[in-house]
């Protein structure tokens, strides 16, 4: 009896390629890669991938990982723009790979499309598109992003008017994807800067009428590496996949500090 041993697919790969769907065009995905075990510097690698205009960039990365090169490393979880794990630099700007459609990146009629994908900037790269998020979360934790109150717990819920809720509505949308912080030119060169995301999450509590820790948080952010580092380049507002007016929130914190009015 003879048994043929099939060549095992490489780690993470799904083996043979699936049929190319009708209407697909071949797109070059140019990925900034880095393997800490073999490389000293990151380098570019290109893959030709069949893509539908309705595909998301995340689909192209899955195609590369599952059928072309199983060693490609990136984060993704929900793939629906909620978990905030697949922030990366797509064609030069920070976006969530699961929210960018191929049809919005297609080159003009007849021209070949190349999509560049890089890790977000300013955080240490572990491998390929995977960065160390710890400095980002460190800044987030430093602004005390939780309800601070004094006195006895109320027996009923803490009541808030619709107008009071409206004041910080925009900044409750943050999913901590780091697209804003790593789009900031100030953060790229000075990692001690708290960064837009931490300030957004401080804003969410500073302007909450139920919270009593506003003074404490304002003191933390009233620092050379706090809100005053912001140079209003608006890259963060442009990068936010949740449409938060990040720069506006930072400016509101600055004005709260200047005029001591919360």
């Amino acid at each position: 009896m003879t048994a043929t041993v099939e060549k095992a697919p490489t780690a993470g790969s799904r083996g043979s390629q699936p049929p190319v769907p009708e209407g697909a065009t071949t797109i070059t995905v140019k990925i900034r890669r880095f393997n800490p075990e073999t490389d000293t510097e990151p380098c570019w690698e290109s893959f030709d991938v069949p893509a539908l205009p309705t595909d998301r960039v995340l689909n192209l990365l899955h195609y590369v990982k599952w059928y072309l090169d199983g060693t490609l490393t990136f984060r993704r979880s929900c793939a629906h723009g909620i978990c905030g794990s697949d922030a990366m630099r797509i064609n030069g700007v920070n976006r969530l790979a699961c929210k960018v459609l191929v049809k919005d990146l297609l080159a003009g009629a007849g021209k070949h499309t190349t999509i560049t994908v890089e890790p977000i900037k300013g955080l240490p790269v572990h491998k390929d598109l995977l960065v160390d998020m710890e400095p980002f979360f460190e800044a987030y934790r430093a602004v005390k992003p939780f309800l601070i109150t004094s006195g006895n717990e109320p027996t009923r819920e803490r009541i808030q008017s619709a107008a009071d809720r409206e004041r910080f509505d925009d900044t409750t949308k943050c999913i901590l994807c780091a697209a804003c912080t790593t789009s900031c030119p100030v953060f790229w060169s000075e990692q001690r800067y708290f960064g837009p995301a931490a300030i957004v999450n401080a804003h969410r509590f500073i302007f909450d009428s139920r919270d009593e820790g506003a003074e404490e948080r304002l003191d933390i952010l009233n620092d050379v590496d706090g809100v005053w580092r912001c140079r209003t380049t608006f890259n963060c507002t442009d990068a936010c996949p949740r449409g938060i007016q990040v720069t506006k929130a930072i400016q509101e914190v600055k004005r709260a500090l200047l005029f001591r009015r919360v």
């Binding site: 800490p36 490389d39 630099r89 030069g92 789009s183 030119p185 060169s189 000075e190 507002t237 600055k254």
Partner: protein, 149 residues
């Protein structure tokens, strides 16, 4: 002021941390219009600083020796310096107008929302001043250079 400079834009400025790559040599970040106005604000600021440095030095010369001062000012009367003067007016004007825009973004609650519109307004004012301004500043040099007497 912040330690950021325009030259750090293209390269990942992150210092190498243990077990990570600094990820340098990637593409230029295609930032918002606000990022480019900030870059231009920095560049025009530095240019203006160097002008002021030279200007303080040459004006101080009049206290040392009026003769040397006259010679220095005579040195400036050439087409190249005339062109640099136009550049200086352009740089100072941009820096002043964008400075007002930045202040409005800082202190006016609607500022961040209309920052792009405010940029197009200052760009319009800049052109409106610079087109006739450059003409009058360069008219004499051009007529002398090309013999329009």
């Amino acid at each position: 002021m912040a330690s950021t400079t325009a030259s750090e834009l293209g390269t990942g400025g992150a210092p190498a941390r243990e077990g990570g790559s600094r990820g340098g040599g990637g593409t230029l970040y295609r930032g918002d219009l606000g990022m480019w106005t900030w870059v231009a604000h920095r560049i025009t600021g530095v240019l203006t600083f160097f002008f002021l440095l030279v200007h303080v030095l040459d004006t101080a010369l009049v206290r040392v020796s009026p003769n040397a001062y006259d010679k220095t000012i005579e040195l400036y009367k050439n087409p190249l310096v005339n062109l640099m003067e136009v550049g200086l007016v352009g740089a100072v004007l941009y820096h002043a107008l964008n400075g007002i825009r930045v202040m409005l973004v800082d202190f006016w609650s609607k500022g961040p929302k209309v920052q792009r519109a405010m940029f197009w307004v200052i760009a319009g004012i800049w052109l409106l001043v610079m087109v006739p301004g450059a003409y009058f500043m360069l008219a004499r040099t051009i007529s002398e250079l090309f013999g329009g007497h």
